[in-house]
């Protein structure tokens, strides 16, 4: 069975995943598709690995290195998660 999630639900889910790692509350409150993990949320780059591992666990998908390279923003992550979920 495929899990079908709309974009807004996915962003909400992603927001809960990144929450433990953010260092800018205001940017987090205003999180949108355009939000950048490092420049806006000030997530420590080593914690970006945790975000990716958490996304893999939560969505039960595998983020390969090529996909990981792009995962610097909410928008890119949503696109990658959507693609990987569709492949399941």
């Amino acid at each position: 069975m495929k899990i079908i999630m709309n974009k807004n639900d996915l962003i909400t889910y992603l927001k809960s995943i990144v929450k433990p790692y953010i260092q800018d509350e205001e940017a987090f409150e205003n999180l949108s598709e355009e939000t950048d993990f490092i420049n806006d949320l000030k997530i420590n780059s080593a914690n970006l690995v945790d975000v990716i591992l958490d996304v893999e666990d939560e969505f039960d998908i595998d983020i390969d290195n090529e996909a990981m390279e792009k995962m610097l923003s909410v928008k890119a992550s949503v696109e990658i998660i959507t693609t990987k979920l569709a492949e399941k």
Binding site: Q23, D24, I38, N39, K42, N44, S45, A46, N47, L48, V49, D50, I52, L53, E56, N65, M68, E69, K70, M71, L72
Partner: protein, 200 residues
């Protein structure tokens, strides 16, 4: 071009669990993982290699005007003469200072330029303190190096998050902070004519 990175080891120990399943494999090559697992202090090796990758990435990003999150593609070589990081056949030279509480690494493309760098402990780890202390220290360093009044130095960041000083377009600068540690590095070519002319 220059890049630098600082790791607060105490913070890293609580902020990141490198023993987490999948963590090492997302960041480190097999060779690097061997280095870590055989190291006398594996945590130090994790953060040494990480700071090498990060500081080299800061140069890579500038060269290519491209942001990527691909730590595994930055391959580290740790040896007794000159540590290096390599990606796409481009070699970055790194040097690291390891102390009890921090690791500071500088990466450079060219070993013949002049650099000025410093790392320091801050009074606390609030993000604002980290940011302001690091910016002010960089300004002090620039003032001393180029004899420019501190009030004239304005640090900006471009769209990619790369810092620069308006009037010193030929000076490559890099800023880093983590926990209670901050660091900066800048690189310039001597004699620094460009810098003087502007201010006399």
């Amino acid at each position: 071009m220059i890049g630098n990175d600082i790791v607060d080891l105490k913070l890293a120990a609580v902020q990141s669990n490198w023993k987490r399943k999948g963590f090492l494999d997302k960041i480190f090559t097999n060779k690097e993982q061997d280095l870590i697992l055989n190291a006398k202090d594996p945590s130090i090796m994790v953060w040494l290699l990480w700071s090498m990758k990060e500081s080299a990435y800061k140069i890579y990003m500038r060269q290519n005007s491209l942001r990527i999150f691909a730590p595994k593609r930055f391959e580290c070589d740790v040896n007794t003469s000159q540590n290096t990081v390599k990606i796409n056949e481009i070699l970055y030279f790194t040097s690291s200072t390891i102390s009890k509480d921090s690791i500071h690494t500088i990466a450079r493309l060219n070993l013949n330029t002049s650099i000025r760098t410093n790392y320091f402990k801050m009074k606390n780890d609030s993000y604002t303190i980290q940011h302001n202390t690091t910016y002010n220290s960089l300004k002090e360093g620039v003032t001393q190096q180029f004899d420019i009044p501190i009030s004239k130095i304005e640090i900006n960041k471009n769209k990619m998050g790369i810092p620069y000083i308006n009037e010193l377009s030929k000076v490559s600068i890099s800023i880093s902070h983590h926990g209670i540690f901050g660091a900066y590095a800048f690189e310039f070519i001597e004699p620094c004519k460009e810098y003087k002319i502007l201010w006399v």
